[in-house]
Subunit: 280 residues, 2 copies
Amino acid sequence: MDTTIDLPEGSAAKALDLSNIRFQLIRLEDTITFHLIERVQFPLNATIYKAGGVRVPYSTLSLFDWFLREQEHLHSLIRRYQSPDEYPFFPDVLQKPILQPINYPRVLHPNEININDKIKDLYIHTILPAACAHSEREERGEKKENFGSSVTCDVPTLQALSRRIHFGKYVAEAKFRSETERFVKLIKAKDVKGLDDAITDTKVENKVLDRLALKAKTYGTDPDIAQIDPGKINDIVIPLTKEVEIAYLLQRLDGTEWDEKEAERVDDKSGPYVAHVGVP
Amino acid sequence: MDTTIDLPEGSAAKALDLSNIRFQLIRLEDTITFHLIERVQFPLNATIYKAGGVRVPYSTLSLFDWFLREQEHLHSLIRRYQSPDEYPFFPDVLQKPILQPINYPRVLHPNEININDKIKDLYIHTILPAACAHSEREERGEKKENFGSSVTCDVPTLQALSRRIHFGKYVAEAKFRSETERFVKLIKAKDVKGLDDAITDTKVENKVLDRLALKAKTYGTDPDIAQIDPGKINDIVIPLTKEVEIAYLLQRLDGTEWDEKEAERVDDKSGPYVAHVGVP
């Protein structure tokens, strides 16, 4: 049974502060836009995403998957995947970091939600072709000279997308804490539609879209650069973020005092949940 | 003796077209600005640049150098350092690429100019402290949680700076071809001051500075992000680019018909230099 959420130094409280979450999401949008502008300097180069498209010695992976996996291997050594907001695409390749571990304050309810396979698939087959579509370079066809450059840009773009989408867990946790009773009811009823409504803030979503449209316009003014279409990206990012939020919430009661399977084992002296959380 | 410059498919001619060079330089400025905005999300974290500052197993390097070296090892496998505009910081670590080699058209005169050590030093000790100086995060001091994130942002920033500065070779070659007689005279006289004057275009330099000021203002409008000071960056980038240009020009006659040591060995049937070059 697990209801304790440690808030040792205010950093966990900050992690769930909605204005801080919003700031992080805006930053991540910038990061995605920047990396995508870099990426579309090169043609789509679809071959690099196909297993066997480029022969990689001793590997059956596509060049892109091979490079992403190698990159995760290296990044794991400097502790990337110990950070609670980083999710690997190839968990099998992670190594013990060469750096000392860091004790991150526990903020999220324990969960194993990782939708990176889906994110990667949509990045390769929807986001990237849309971003490259209007590029002058695209018309010139594949360029072998840019195979390496392309995957080098792909990796940080995809990593930023993954962070942005999985950040939904923090959004969901913050919402859960601010309206605990409402969410407990919806989660117990497994009311996905009700959860979707409860986490949807149309005003905020429209703001996100407006902000992204303005940004891409500001950043991507060079006529030789493909216009990044933020609408296309957010048609994917927003639903995936919600998917993460709902999946997270559906697991949110597991092992807590609201978990019916666990209820009889609850130690009464642990007191009511809110006492631990300290929502401002 | 070497005077042949192949222009097989127009790509070499394009590489020396001044409007194309200018486009590439502007693109690289964007890349540098983007990556630096990402980097200053984190404090300076000076410890990561000091050998022994962070203990790296089986290595005497700083965490930053270790990561840069590992990154170059990986990037060499996907052919990064076969590209004529990429220069390694750790040439000893480069591997044979897993991808088939590409026959790049020869554009530059053979040379071994690589000022990456100097660029890295100025990046760590001048550019980075200036960029982080006004950051709110900086005031909070070092953050171990961001050591890995910092070096992950540093590598592409430094690589873009290196490409930008070594691009001076293309600028120099283009200028040499368009005013060959003038440059041959200056080079033969080893007239560094004269070469400096010949390659300096104050109007263009001021334009670069204006453009960068506008860009940093546009991109870095978030008050919580350190204002990247493009003046500070260009106080370093412009002189280093000129240093590359001059070093390149001083070697430009070696092994050509203008090389006095080689002159008597020239095969007369090879014809005059300009016949091979085809400057438009």
